[in-house]
Amino acid sequence: MALSGLQIFKLLPKTNCKECGFPTCMAFAMQLAAGKAELDQCPYVTEEAKAELGAASAPPIRKVIIGAGDMAVTVGEETVLYRHEKRFEHMPGLGVLITEDMDDATVDKLLGQLKDMEFNYVGQNLRPRVAAIRAADPAKLAALAARADSAAGAALVLINDDAGALKAAAEPLKDKKPLLYAATEENFDAVAAVAGELGVPMAIKADSLEKLAELGQKAVDADLKEVVLDPSSATLGDVLMDQTLIRRAAIKQTFRPLGFPTIGFPCDMTDDPMLEAVYASVFVAKYAGIVILSDLDPARVLPLLYLSQNIYTDPQKPMQMEQGIYPINEPTEDSPILVTTNFSLTYFTVSSEVEASKVPAWLCIMDVEGQSVLTAWAAGKFVADAIAPFLKKSGIDEKAPHKKVIIPGYVAQISGELDEELGDGWEVQVGVREAADIPKFLRQWSAN
């Protein structure tokens, strides 16, 4: 059973030496309790304390890093089943399957996409990072792995049943931390030995959770920490069941043999590329750490990356837009000026209605720490003496010298005061309360 921070603190040296990286033993204890630090970080911990803390100190789901540099994928370290309880930590690593049967042009295309594909969404760069190389021929496995590394710097998953083949492909790239896939009931000892020797992560695979847990126990006994689980779920329903039960066992029972991130292969579950994307979305929403697709068609990758971001965004911290002027529908100096807050939902709702109206407009987004219009107004952040300086400094009067500013209908009461604060030349107009009414409002608006 997990210990509290205070219980852990009693077992620490209480010297506040800071060598663990935290300012005090108490702070370290709290991090241990939260599963965010490892006991090994304390150089002075006694054997006695180690034994007592052992089970309680490691994170319930181990951190695993695959790949290196910008393309590295960090997974694991999750502490909850529901995202409203606490932020999900690490977005799953999305990737593509590359096989020995593919022709050179296909491999080049996929690696080119891995290298270049990147989407910016709410200030975050989202991209696929993983190349899963599946080859029965050991020479081809090694060659494709080397190619995926040099051409794309991809985080690698090496797929072969034979420990020797995995070793040959992984050894030259061991600093890039490729994931060996997979240790099974048949080859566990051999693959685990390679993972231990090269210091690289290893996947374990079985066709039931009981058997997977047995392999997990062997990995724990061998002191392997970087392990990834594949429960080989046969159907989408099994994916949900297996992922849920693994997450519950790890978090609610602190069951170490399953306390690792998971990998899933929607690419192997259906031949229909559209359905594969839908299947992949279940892996993304339901706890998977690595998700492998059959190709990287951007129209199918984009929604999956957005879903990862949505599910893994911090629910306590509203998504925010950057403060600034957003031109919509190519506005000119006679186009209307709208002002609202930088809560991402507010921005999305308003901007999509403005876009739909087809009326060119300037949308001024003011930083109020990501609050909605009414919340920010109530908190004194979206009020006349804050909005006026923002607008004056924004440079909007150069882009649209008519200086007529439309404020959200919900803050109609500040219009007089804002008029005063803005001073001569500016004019405050009260807009609509609901975003859905924006198109009609804009179509009727005129600068004169």
Binding site: Y82, R83, H84, M117, F119, S208, L209, E210, A213, E214, Q217, A234, T235, L236, G237, D238, L240, M241, T244, L245, R248, A249, K252, Q253, F255, R256, P257, L258, M274, L275, A277, V278, Y279, S281, V282, A285, K286, D297, P298, A299, R300, V301, L302, P303, Y306, L307, N310, I311, P315, S344, L345, F348, T349, S352, E355, A356, E434, A436, D437, K440
Partner: protein, 319 residues
Amino acid sequence: MSFTAPIEKTKGQIREVEIGSSSKVGGESTFPFHLWEGEMPNSPMVAMEVYDEPQPEWPEAVRKVYEDVMDDPVAWAKKCQDEFGADAIVLQLRSTDPNGTDASPEAAAETVKKVAEAISIPLLVNGTGSPDKDAEVLKKVAEAMPDRNIPIGPVDDANHRLIGAAAMGYKKPVVAFTSMDVNLAKQLNVLLSQLGVPEDKIIMDPTTGALGYGLEYCYSIMERDRLAALVQNDGKMQMPILNNLAPETWKAKESRVTEAEEPTYGDVETRGILWEAITATALLLSGTDILVMRHPQAVELVRSAIDGLQAQAKEKIAS
């Protein structure tokens, strides 16, 4: 250390609400698709939306599907029923929007009647979210269709008395709409039941955010709704959930911009269909009972996802 599957039995159960003459939604005694530890007697309903006036601004991918029926809601509804196998039709009374065509309640009720008579699958009627106008329109709809079990909505805290009274008078289920808040949802359910609306005639619409446009809020609100209903056994939260997702996903920029405009985004039709199908799948996982959808291929994908999610090797964890 040997593995014992961590099964969680829940105390509460979602109420079953009857729609039309023989369809039911809700009834779950477990989290979405957790068939290994509870029951989900009714598959989520995949409804398709029909508009009572043409939608010329839709993206090409959906416009071309309905081009031939856009000005005829009856033909549109039949197309969804006969060609696309919709479980139900949601008639979106967009023409009644006071900021748009502002059609009369009588005209809207007439359309509802024609559509209802033309189809054999259940019908649901959705207003425009304008509280005063919806109250007039939905009252008229209820009056005009005394013998049909047609859910009407959206009902919000501003018009719940008026629409609630009409719904009780004509024995119609209601769709109770709140904006992304567990407590507001519960409060509206309480208000409606205090008014006398039977609890098995309330469906909740928690507000739907599309993928990339607030989906995560809606996802977590629905998860919390279900925790309240199932784990805390809160009777005022045990209502089935409806997600009116199609208007949201097809409004998203990512469903609309063409590959010519955004070369890195890939084919716009594929993207639009997946935007709808993946939003719907996330809603399936967080607790929806009724999905309101638009593109037939997205509907097809979501049906496959539902079939897939229901296929579970329960014997693997036989407890």
